[in-house]
Symmetry: C2
Subunit: 198 residues, 2 copies
C-alpha cells in the first residue's frame, strides 16, 4: 500500500507565502524567495546549468505514483500548463466537477468532488505500490488531521518573513508526533524529513 | 566585540509553548514535550547517566560570557533557584528596578530598566570578547527587530502542537535573511544554526 508524503517549502518562521497572496501573486508579498531555490541555476554534473526544480521532479517520478492536490493549487498554477512536470496521475480535490484532462508528457488530472477520503483512495489506487505526493498546505493539513499522512518533508528556506500564510499551526490544539528520518542541506535550503508516528 | 546568539526549543510548527501557558504551567498545555530532550537521561561517556541539559550548559559556558533575558523568563524560572546553571553574568530586562543578585556558583543577575539597547550594551560589556546568549522569545524578537542578533539557533522538536505561543512570525511583515551555518541532530531534536545577514 502506498504512502502519503507531503513536502513544502517554508520560511524558518513557518510561512508558505508572504502576505497578500492573490492570483497574480500566488506567493504573496515577498514570498517568491521561498521558491527561488527550485529555479536557481548551478553547474550540473555534465557542465550544463542545472536546477533543483528538474532534480526534485526527477526524484519524485522515481518514488511517487500519483499526486493529490486541491483545486486552488491547480488554479494558481494555471492548470500547470500544456506539459506539466509531474508525468503521473494527479487527483484534484474540488467542489465543481470537471472532465479528466490528459496532458502532454503523461500527466492526467482527475477531479474528485466527493471529499478527501475518496480523493485519497483514488490517488492510492492510481499510485499502485508507489507513494502519493500531497501537494499544497490545505490538503496536507486535512491529511494530517485525518491521520492519513505518512511523511512530511519541509524545505526550510533561511529567511524570516514575519507574515503571510502559515503551513502548520492554525491555533487549534492537535498534537502530532513525528520522528526525524533525515536532515540534509542542498541548494541553500535545509530538507527536514519526518515520519508521522501513529 | 561579542556576538548576540539566541537559541530556542520549538515545535516543528513553530511553537515555544502549548496553549494556556501560566505561572503554574509555563510551557502551557502539552508544551513540556518541547523541553523533554534537555532532561532525558542517556548513557554518558563514563557510563553514568547524562543529560543534554548539562551538556548544553557546559558548551554555553565555553562560548558565552553573559546572558540577556526578559523579566518574564526570570520570574517563570523562579529566579533560577539558589544555584542557577549559568555561572556567568545575566542581564535581566525589566520595568521594575531590583538590586543585583549574586547567587551560588557565580551567576549574577543585574536588572536593567532603561531599555533593550542599554541591556545589550551591559551584557556585551560583561561578556568581553565572548558571546552574549539571548534567552526567551520576547527578547530574541526585540533583538531581531533592532538588527542586533548575530546568530539564531533553533532546536526543532519533532512534534506539531497546533496551538500555543509562537517564537517567530507575529503577522507583521519584517524580512530577515539568514544563512545556515550548521544542521545537526542529537537527543532526538534537530539543531538548526543560522547567521543573520545584515
Amino acid at each position: 500500500m502506498g504512502r502519503l508524503i507531503a513536502d513544502m517549502s517554508v520560511s524558518l518562521d513557518g510561512y508558505i507565502t508572504g502576505p497578500d497572496d492573490r492570483p497574480e501573486a500566488p506567493l504573496g508579498e515577498g514570498g517568491d524567495v521561498l521558491h527561488e531555490w527550485y529555479f536557481r541555476e548551478y553547474p550540473g554534473p555534465d557542465g550544463r546549468p542545472a536546477r533543483a526544480f528538474d532534480e526534485v521532479f526527477e526524484q519524485m517520478r522515481e518514488t511517487h505514483g500519483a499526486l493529490l492536490m486541491g483545486r486552488r493549487s491547480y488554479d494558481i498554477a494555471g492548470g500547470w500548463g500544456e506539459e506539466p512536470p509531474f508525468r503521473i496521475p494527479v487527483v484534484v480535490l474540488t467542489h465543481q466537477s470537471h472532465p479528466t484532462l490528459a496532458k502532454t508528457g503523461g500527466t492526467t488530472f482527475t477531479f474528485v468532488t466527493d471529499g478527501l477520503m475518496s480523493g485519497v483512495r483514488q490517488a492510492l489506487a492510481a499510485a499502485g505500490d508507489r507513494a502519493v505526493g500531497v501537494h499544497g498546505g490545505d490538503v496536507t493539513r486535512q491529511c494530517l488531521r485525518a491521520g492519513l499522512l505518512d511523511e512530511l518533508i519541509l524545505h526550510v528556506v533561511p529567511v524570516l518573513l514575519g507574515a503571510g500564510n502559515r503551513f502548520l499551526g492554525d491555533g487549534d490544539p492537535h498534537r502530532v508526533d513525528l520522528e526525524a528520518v533525515s536532515v540534509t542541506e542542498s541548494h541553500g535550503v535545509t530538507h527536514l524529513r519526518y515520519r508521522v508516528i501513529r
